[in-house]
């Protein structure tokens, strides 16, 4: 989701031209609690879509308030193309884009970008690679000259790879000692299985990282980011106009393949009739003071007409501080610092994620309470619930519009997933007419028995509790 900026300014400033006089003193008392008025009209922005001379698609939003630009290059290559024995190859190749490139060494690349105060990040998704450049507008061209080398001419040296590999192994080793991270990162593995694109780790495992060589990295880069199979699109937000973007792309990227909307290759949708091998799995984390609980259950596929109603129901169930999950597990029982849920929707599968970390002695009570809360969706949603969900949905669009980087990231998602440029406006309009009954009709999704419950905690303490409570479980290991 996202919002905008441009075009709103006139509308909003118009609203504050009308001023009222000083009101009489209203004391703070139960009889004077203000009742909010209707919210101001708000329409999310619509990215301006065009085609550059090179044929590449350009999606952009101009915002001239401050002289900064967020420039995204979207490349067709992601972790779903990793082979099982070399999971993490896409992500590791993308990390190598930040190392030696063109005529510069790693440290020279880092320094020249720092000297210009330019941030460059590379994100690996299942389908795509996204290079994001955040820069002062006056330094953008110089920055893109360097980025062009980084993306298309990485050296991928043995020395760089040795260091990057060691850093990845160490970092992964640290993450795998964090119960909360393990629960979140590997819950899809337990739902979808090791052979499913969503079940595999984008970061890879210790053994698959060890198996990657510089030859693998170069081959992947050549095939997916640079060669005949590679394509590129551009998504830009900030203090810049389309003709300047056109000129920059021509100068720095004209020699490379381009991505058009028609080129976006939607991957084959994997069968999402998920059959987890166990309903509850327990991963041992000796000494943990809390048990990290994640529930993942399949939800509606992308584009399903019930998707927004489900999102709104998700807000009430676990999307805000007063959500049913947080109210029960934190504010009533005090088991946890927080509990919530959200939906993930994509081409490879969609699911509900419920998450909380609870004090170890309360593990079984928390699981029962969590399931009881999820079951309340069947009883429906009140007027206040409905108002909260609809308002929060709108508020998210407004909030996202306040950050150019967030806005750019959301635009990238629209672009790369094949959604229409008008989707934000359409979704917001639909959300405002979804009824509480339609939200209730999505109650089937809030059911842990349809998916998997993942527990990461101290098994020596948790196992006897599960046994005593009659909760069936399987002890599981995370992939090595």
């Amino acid at each position: 989701m996202n919002t905008f900026v441009i075009g709103l300014i006139g509308l909003l400033t118009q609203g504050c031209g009308e001023k009222k006089g000083i009101e009489t003193v209203k004391p703070v008392s139960a009889t004077t609690i203000p009742v909010p008025t209707a919210s101001s009209p708000f329409t999310p922005p619509t990215p301006v879509v065009s085609k550059l001379d090179s044929g590449a698609s350009l999606w952009m939003l101009e915002d001239h308030d401050i002289p900064v630009v967020v420039f995204n290059i979207v490349l067709a290559g992601g972790s779903s193309q990793d082979v099982a024995a070399k999971q993490g190859l896409a992500e590791l190749t993308n990390q190598m884009l930040l190392e030696s490139a063109g005529e510069r060494s790693s440290s020279e690349i880092s320094s020249v970008l720092y000297d210009m105060a330019v941030d460059v990040s590379v994100e690996t998704t299942r389908q795509h690679t996204i290079v994001q450049v955040s820069s002062h507008k006056d330094r953008l061209s110089d920055a893109l000259a360097v980025v062009s080398d980084m993306v298309f001419e990485p050296q991928i040296t043995e020395a760089d790879w040795s260091r990057v590999k060691e850093q990845n192994l160490a970092s992964l080793q640290q993450s795998r000692q964090d119960a909360s991270w393990v629960a979140s990162h590997y819950a899809p593995y337990f739902l979808y299985g090791a052979d499913h694109p969503l079940g595999r780790s984008v970061r890879g495992t210790p053994s698959t990282i060890e198996a990657v060589s510089t030859t693998d990295l170069r081959t992947w880069h050549q095939q997916r980011l640079k060669g005949a199979d590679a394509t590129m699109g551009v998504v830009v937000v900030g203090d810049i106009d389309a003709s300047t973007v056109e000129s920059l792309v021509e100068t720095h990227f004209s020699r490379f393949p381009v991505m058009t909307r028609e080129d976006i290759r939607i991957p084959v949708v994997v069968d999402v009739a998920v059959q987890p091998t166990a309903k509850t799995v327990l991963v041992d984390m000796p000494g943990a003071e809390q048990t990290s609980i994640r529930v993942l259950a399949p939800s509606y596929p992308a584009g399903d007409e019930r998707e927004i109603a489900a999102d709104l129901a998700g807000v009430v169930m676990g999307g805000t501080f007063t959500s049913r999950l947080n109210a029960k597990l934190r504010e009533e029982k005090g088991y946890t610092y927080g509990a919530g849920c959200s939906f993930t929707t994509g081409y490879y599968g969609s699911h509900l994620s419920v998450r909380t970390n609870v004090q170890t002695p309360s593990t079984t009570e928390a699981i029962q309470d969590l399931n009881d809360v999820l079951a309340t969706a069947k009883a429906g949603f009140s007027i206040d619930d409905h108002n909260k969900a609809v308002s929060a949905y709108r508020g998210d669009f407004v909030q996202l519009a306040s950050s150019r980087k967030q806005l750019a990231s959301e635009m990238v998602d629209l672009f790369r997933l094949g959604d229409p440029a008008t989707m934000w406006s359409t979704d917001l309009a639909i959300s405002q007419i979804v009824t509480a009954e339609q939200m209730q009709q999505t109650a089937e999704l809030f059911d842990a028995t349809r998916g998997v419950t993942v527990l990461v905690g101290d098994a020596s303490v948790v196992e006897p509790m599960l046994t005593e409570a009659g909760v069936g479980y399987t002890i599981a290991q995370i992939p090595e």
Binding site: V28, S40, A117, H136, Q174, S180
Partner: protein
């Protein structure tokens, strides 16, 4: 008189145009009109933080922050959040050493409700034993999640007592100990509220899409009736210059070693504070920074190294954090860090003008990004007001960094970041613990034969 003074800052590229006011009861008010989006932020800073935890009640200021959401005599129990969310708003709060902030975000149509509810909980808080018991458990779970179970989270529980004497309130981590949290009483809650939560100890910033005249009237209606109280005295302390514990090793549930090297440093916004920030970029943060280049790129001795100035009002700490590899020789790394600092202090290494220029470029960009949204603007202006008593400070703040010179950095390092003033914390995997070792080891400056 309603407003003691009013002042309008003129906007420019590196400024936050705003208006400041003060009520008769002492409440400071800052108004930042910004009509770009139909959104408002109501941001309240109270001049109380973990520094003001009552004796024997570590973590109390933070626990109290949680209680501020538990209802008043006017808006009981959890209705504060419920009313806000139903109207499309959301909120959060944070407790730092020197202040506690509460911020509400919502549509322009609910600014009236937000102001009403903030004024209400400034004066009508209604806390019962049941509410206290519940929130102390929530906070204990916050401690477990963020400090005890989080790998290396224990570092931040150890650092305060290594750096500060027991008489200094910073010597205890703001999350509090389980024992102190369990010991908190309703009496302490009442006293704390009466002492610190009052208009003259608060600053209210409203930012976003509102009409200033309307909002002024609402503020007067809701806050103007709150009685002024006597001025508050914080505990006065002397700024420490040497750490309490020179070296300590702890064994934790971590897979790889880590090392923290710490020094007392200039307090926030005082001479040397900006220089310490710039020094952190001289040392780490880019590939040719002194420590990053040698430790990460040239010799591959560590996973990563990060230096930062942890600025506070009653004693800052400059930290070099080393994420080690399994075979890292931590003594070798320590020697490299200290020799790098010694060379800066002696003039053997001089920070180049082009390096300073690049660092300044990055600080300028950070300032620019900070002007992006109303929440960041409100926080920046509140910070200036809290620490400096003035709000039109963005340009001067940037000027602090623009005035940093190689000579100032040399002087700073020589004065503060010497080996004899360093404290070192090692975090090692539990399986490296010697069998005969039954507890964590530590040494103090005196028994280490400190050079002083």
């Amino acid at each position: 008189m309603l407003w003691l003074y009013a002042w309008i800052a003129q906007g420019s590229a590196m400024e936050i145009p705003h208006e400041t006011l003060q009520l008769d009861n002492g409440l400071n008010v800052i108004l930042i009109e910004d009509h770009k989006l139909p959104q408002v932020v109501v941001n309240t800073w109270y001049g109380v933080g973990s520094y003001d935890d009552p004796e024997g009640a570590s973590g109390f200021a933070h626990l109290f922050e949680h209680l501020m959401f538990m209802g008043t005599t006017v808006i009981p129990n959890s209705e504060f959040d419920i009313r806000m969310e139903v109207a499309g708003g959301w909120n959060n709060a944070s407790t730092a050493d020197d202040r506690t902030n509460y911020y509400d975000v919502g549509g322009a149509n609910i600014v009236d409700l937000l102001l009403f509810m903030e004024a209400d909980r400034m004066v009508n808080l209604d806390i019962t034993q049941e509410k206290l018991d519940l929130q102390r458990e929530v906070v204990r779970n916050e401690r477990r999640q963020n400090y005890e179970d989080a790998p290396y989270g224990s570092i931040w529980l150890e650092m305060p007592e290594m750096m500060y004497p027991a008489s200094h309130p910073y010597s205890l981590e703001g999350i509090g100990s389980h024992e102190d949290l369990l010991a908190a009483t309703l009496d302490t809650v009442g006293n704390f509220y009466d002492t610190w939560y009052q208009p003259a100890n608060a600053s209210l910033c409203i930012a976003g899409d509102f009409d200033a005249e309307q909002v002024k009237a609402l503020i007067q209606s809701y806050y103007g009736q709150i009685e002024a109280k006597e001025a508050i005295e914080h505990v006065q302390i002397e700024l420490p210059t040497v750490p309490q514990i020179k070296e300590k090793t702890i064994y934790d549930n971590v897979p790889l070693p880590a090392m923290l090297m710490m020094w007392h440093s200039p307090v926030v916004f005082k001479d040397g504070d900006a220089e310490a920030d710039v020094l952190s970029s001289v040392l780490t943060g880019r590939a040719d920074a002194l420590l990053t280049k040698r430790l990460v790129y040239d010799e591959s001795l560590v996973q990563s190294v990060e230096a930062f100035q942890y600025s506070r009002g009653r004693g800052s700490v400059f930290i070099v954090y080393v994420d080690a590899l399994a075979d890292t020789d931590l003594k070798q790394v320590e020697d490299i860090v200290t020799s790098t600092l010694n060379d800066l202090a002696s003039g053997e290494t001089v920070v180049k003008a082009e390096t300073l220029s690049a660092i300044l470029n990055n600080w300028e960009m950070d300032f620019l990004w900070g002007l992006e949204d109303i929440q960041e603007k409100a926080e920046a202006v509140q910070r200036y007001h809290h620490y400096l008593g003035q709000t039109d400070y963005v340009q001067q703040d940037l000027a602090r960094y623009q005035s940093v010179t190689p000579e100032k950095i040399q002087s700073l390092v020589g004065q503060y970041f010497t080996t004899d003033k360093m404290s070192k914390l090692l975090v090692l995997p539990e399986d490296q613990k010697e069998p005969e070792s039954t507890k964590d080891s530590e040494s103090t400056p005196s028994n280490e034969g400190d050079a002083q």
